[in-house]
Structure formats: C-alpha cells, structure tokens
C-alpha cells in the first residue's frame, strides 16, 4: 500500500506540472542565490582572515611588553633566541617569522608619508605565508647592497611609487639617534591587510637589524603559524606560561574587527537563510493548499472508500517533500555550479577596486564552499516542507466525505 500511496502522490504532483515545476524552480533559484551570497560572504571574510594571518599575525604573535601600546623600539624584544627555539621545537608550530618594525617617515622627492619599515627574512616569510603571492608588481629582492624594498600598494599609490623608484626612510633607532636609509622599490604588495597595504615597507631583516640598532637577537614581533587552527589557543597559552614577560596574542586578539566581521557575516547569512526558507515554506504551502482544495472531492471519495487519514497524510506529506527535495536537488546542482565558478574565478568588482581596497577588500571576491551549506539547506527545506503541510493536513482531517459526495 505504501508504494501505491507514494505513486499516487508522485503522479498527483505532476497533474499540475507547470505549477509544480515553478515551485521547484523557485526553490532552486532562491537556494542558488542564497548559497552564492553565503559563499561570497564567507569567502570575503576568509580571504581577509587568511591574508591577515599570512601577511602579519600568524595564528599567534609575540611582542615585547607594551610594544603594541607605544610602538617604540624601546619596548622591542632584545633577546628572542630562546623564544624562537621554543617555537620552532613545538610540534604544533609549522613556521616562525621574526620581524623588526619601526615607524618613521618615508620620503620621495615629491611626497612624504608616515610608514612602517618592517625587516623580514624572505625565506621565513615564504614558509610562513607565501609572501610572494601578495606581490602585484615586480619581485621582492633585496639586491646586492641590501637596499631593495617592497611597498604596500596603497602607500605606493599615495607616494606615486613604482617599481624602480627610490625613497628614503627616516626613523629613530633604539639608541635614540635619527638615521635614514635609502631604498629602491623592487615590488608592490597587496594583502587586504590595511596595516600592510597602507603603511608598510619591507626590507631585508639584516639591514633592519643594523638600521634599528636591535642587533642579531632583537625583534619587535615573532609570529607563529600553527599546523592546525585548533592549536592556536594552546600554543599561545604555552608561550604565555614560558615567557610571562612578553605580550603573547592570538590573531583574534590582534584583529577583533575580523572576528566581528565574521560574526556579522554569520548573522547576515542566518537572516538570508531564514528569509529564503520562509519563501520556500510559503511556496510549498501555497501549492499544497491549492492542490488539496482542488482535490477535495477526490480526497472525500478516498475517505469514503475507506482510505485512512494516515494514508492520506502520507500521500500529502510525500507530495510536499518531493517538491522540496526536487527543488533542493536542482538548487544544489545550480548552487554548486555557481559556487564552483565563484571559487575559481571570483566575483569581479575591479570597477569598484578603489573603494573596496580602501576598506581592505579585494576587488575580486572569491567564494568559499562548504558541505554544511548543502546539508543545512537540505534539512531546512525538509523542515519547511513538513511545516507547510500542517494546515492542508488539518483541513483534510476536517473533511467529511458526505459533504463532497453530495456537492
């Protein structure tokens, strides 16, 4: 009997094929739009989070106490060898980058700007976050005389700097003396991290050590990449316990805006999800209600013949579920296609690049794709289909066969 009831439900679904097809397309269309938006939101936040972690904070960063507060070499770490050794020997840590950052004035013949000179080890940065992938023009090389530099894209734009141009950076060293270094631009970098894009000039770490006066063991930041994101808190806790005098921070503590943005996107996605599911629910509800009202006589006859309410409930519920699941299947196909495209080719917003990059967004937004987009949507559509038949089933329960037979 079960098979016959399902067969009746299936064929009833296609008695008004255009109407059923429209609802299925509506579900598929809304689902595709919803998942594309969700993927883009997630992709945007993921890109920002990953580029920030890769280009600056790592999962965990260690600074001299009060360095972040005063941004002065007076608070830099004078001895980092023990810290580096501890980090490198920790099996949870996969890469360590030592940096020396100092704020000063970058000048060309025509323009001057506040900037951060950051001394880096190119090999270490490559292991740490593939720095070369952030290069948009030129190649990062320090040159024979170690006076090459890479400049953040917005800073280069502000100072009209291009690859091959020269600039002078002046700052106070750890002894308090003002000194300058002459550099030429070998590369322009763009990371989506405003601190780097708007202010940073990368130079060779040895050059930075001598320029800052911090010597071979000093640094302003030791950043760590963990093998697993889940190890972040534990690694930070270990370092805090081992080096209580240092300022150990996770990326979430260093960039709370990113965490807020993640949360905001989660809320946006939840709201979009709820709206789309409401639309799905109303769509299926409308079709099921009309379908049952149209077939009142048929249901009345079935009841008169002895069909139980349970069998009628099964038939109607199956019709609604079939509508929802067919919509989901088509939607999953469309969504996967759309997300695949957005993951590989992104949403090209280069027309608005200036505005987006000023806020740290990439001009081409790449989507993220996660299994839970599809599983959550599936369960929500099934739930919406089940809820949508409650009122039609109630009407069916109240149906008296005699009324329809006599009508």
């Amino acid at each position: 009997m079960f098979k016959l009831v399902l067969k009746m439900a299936w064929f009833n679904l296609w008695r008004r094929s255009r109407r059923s097809a429209l609802v299925i397309l509506m579900i598929a269309g809304s689902m595709t739009a919803m998942l594309a938006i969700e993927g883009l939101y997630d992709g945007m936040v993921k890109t920002m989070r990953e580029s920030t972690i890769r280009s600056d904070s790592g999962e965990v960063s260690v600074y001299g106490e009060k360095f972040r507060l005063y941004d002065s070499l007076d608070y830099a770490m004078k001895e980092t060898r023990a810290l580096q050794k501890t980090a490198e020997e920790d099996p949870r840590v996969r890469a360590v980058a030592v940096r020396i950052a100092q704020t000063g004035l970058a000048s060309t013949a025509r323009k001057s700007s506040i900037a951060r000179l950051v001394g880096i080890d190119l090999d270490a940065e490559e292991r740490f976050g593939q720095l070369s992938e952030f290069v948009t023009e030129g190649n990062i090389t320090w040159g024979r005389r170690q006076n090459g530099c890479a400049v953040g894209k917005q800073l280069a734009k502000e100072m009209h700097l291009e690859v091959g141009h020269r600039l002078v950076f002046s700052s106070q060293n750890v002894q308090g003396d003002i000194s300058s270094v002459s550099l030429y631009v070998t590369a322009i970098v763009q990371t989506s991290n405003l601190l780097i894009d708007n202010q940073t000039i990368y130079i060779a770490l040895p050059r930075s050590r001598s320029f800052s006066g911090l010597g071979d063991a000093g640094a302003t930041q030791v950043a760590l990449r963990t093998r697993l994101p889940a190890d972040t808190e534990a690694v930070a806790a270990t370092l805090k316990a081992t080096f209580p005098a240092l300022d150990v921070e996770t990326w979430k503590q260093l960039y709370p805006v990113l965490v807020q943005m993640q949360e905001m996107m989660r809320i946006f996605n939840s709201i979009t999800f709820a709206i789309v599911m409401l639309v799905v629910l109303i769509g299926i509800f409308g079709v099921m209600l009309v379908s049952i009202l149209e077939r009142t006589r048929e249901f009345g006859i079935l009841i008169a013949l002895g069909t139980s309410q349970k069998q009628l409930r099964l038939q109607v519920t199956f019709e609604a579920l079939a509508l929802g699941i067919l919509g989901f299947a088509l939607g999953a196909l469309f969504s996967y296609g759309a997300l695949w495209y957005l993951v590989h080719y992104g949403l090209d917003l280069r027309e608005y690049a200036a505005g987006l990059e000023a806020f740290g967004y990439n001009a081409v937004i790449f989507a993220d794709i996660k299994l839970h987009y599809f599983t959550n949507t599936f369960f929500a559509i099934v739930a919406a289909a089940l809820v949508s038949v409650l009122l039609p089933l109630y009407r069916l329960k109240k149906l008296h066969p005699i009324e329809v037979i006599q009508s």
């Binding site: 009746m8 064929f11 002895g306 069909t307 006599q406």
Partner: protein, 222 residues
C-alpha cells in the same frame, strides 16, 4: 443482514432550516438481496444509502450490519467498516485519476492488505466479468463513461464486500450502457452473492430490482 430500527436523520437540526430527512425508518434487508431505493427527488434516498453505508451519522435509531451496530461508531471505526464490508459505486464514477484501471480495481484490496498475487488474480477475474479485461492498463481519462462506471463497479466488487451501495449508478449513462451495467450487476449479485442496494429514479433500474423500497418524505411507504 441489514437492520434499521427507528432511524431518524435531520439536517440543520434545531434551526429555522431544519429538515427531517429520515423519519422512523424500520427496514430489514436480507443477505444477497438485489434492491432499489426509489422515490421522488429530495425524498431521502441518498441520505438513507449514506446512513446504511456508515458515511453519515444518524440522529436516533439503530443500524446493524451483520449484527454490528454502526450508529455509535466513531469516524475511524466507520472508515474501517466501510473498507472491510461495503463497496460503493457513485454516480460520478470517482475513479482515482492518477491510477490505471488495474490499480483502481485493486485499490480497495491494496488498502485491505491483500497479497499482490491475490490482487492480480481477482482484478483479472472481475475485469473479465465486467468486460474491461482489455482496458487494465488504460487511464480513467481514456475510458468512456460506461467503461468508467464498470471500473467503479469492479473496484467495489473486487474485495468481496458483503454489501454494495450504488447511488444513482446509471444517472450519467445512456440507456444502452445502463442496461449493460445493470445486467452485469445482477450477474455479480447472483454469482458473488453480494447484497446490492441502489438508489435510483430510473424506471429500468427499478424494474430490474427484486425488491423495491419506496421513500416519500423520508418515510418508507412500500
């Protein structure tokens, strides 16, 4: 055996529009009877048929089918009774449009849980008897009115109910199809020993019945 005692049925009871549709009906219909309920329009034929078929509740009195009192049953129990003991043939055929003839005929048997082999054999048997054996794979929309009504009769008969109630079964058929249908139903009554009760104003149907129950204003007059 069907026994009705002091059956009363009202519509819009205790309102200005109150209609006393059945008045103190006392009636006994023996097993295997081939009877017709007749009378003028609005006399209560369909109401009486619906009451006997446990489709509608009565306001007072008693209806017993093979000793089972049906008047006090709730909707679920009435549905079970209809499924197991009564076959219905409606004026408008009322076949399930998404099922083919074979599935329509076997529908009640499926509801009652007969095995697929038993259903297949019985469907073939009644379809042959009603001369629709070559239409088993057709959909109801592809059949003539007469053929659809024969499918409806086959559906009612297939599960071997004790009683078949047919409400104006020839109302939508031409005379040739009406005669054909009545001949087949009479044959079913004789071969299958099923009690058949019609409601009809069709003189031909009335003439064919072995028992005539005449209603006037909700009262049995003959």
């Amino acid at each position: 055996m069907i026994e009705l005692a002091k059956v009363n049925k009202y519509f819009f009871k205790d309102t200005a529009r109150e209609v006393h549709a059945l008045r103190d009906i006392d009636l006994v219909i023996d097993s295997g009877e081939y009877g017709v309920i007749t009378g003028p329009s609005g006399c209560g034929k369909t109401t009486l048929l619906n009451a006997i078929g446990a489709l509608d509740a009565i306001d007072s009195g008693s209806i017993r089918i093979d000793g089972t009192e049906t008047s006090g049953l709730d909707e679920t129990a009435r549905a079970k009774l209809r499924l197991e003991r009564i076959g219905f043939v409606f004026q408008a055929y009322n076949l399930v449009p998404v099922l083919n003839v074979r599935e329509n005929i076997g529908f009640i048997m499926k509801l009652r849980g007969f095995s697929p082999d038993a259903i297949e054999a019985r469907v073939a048997e009644v379809a042959k008897m009603l001369e629709i054996g070559d239409k088993l794979d057709a959909m109801p929309t592809n059949l003539s009115g007469g053929q659809q009504q024969r499918v409806a009769v086959a559906r009612a008969v297939a599960a071997k109910p004790k009683l078949i109630l047919a409400d104006e079964p020839t109302a939508n058929l031409d005379s040739k199809n009406s005669e054909h249908l009545m001949a087949m139903m009479k044959q079913l009554n004789e071969v299958e020993k099923i009690t058949i009760l019609f409601s009809s104003h069709d003189d031909y149907v009335v003439d064919q019945a072995r028992r005539i129950i005449k209603l006037v204003d909700g009262t049995v007059v003959r």
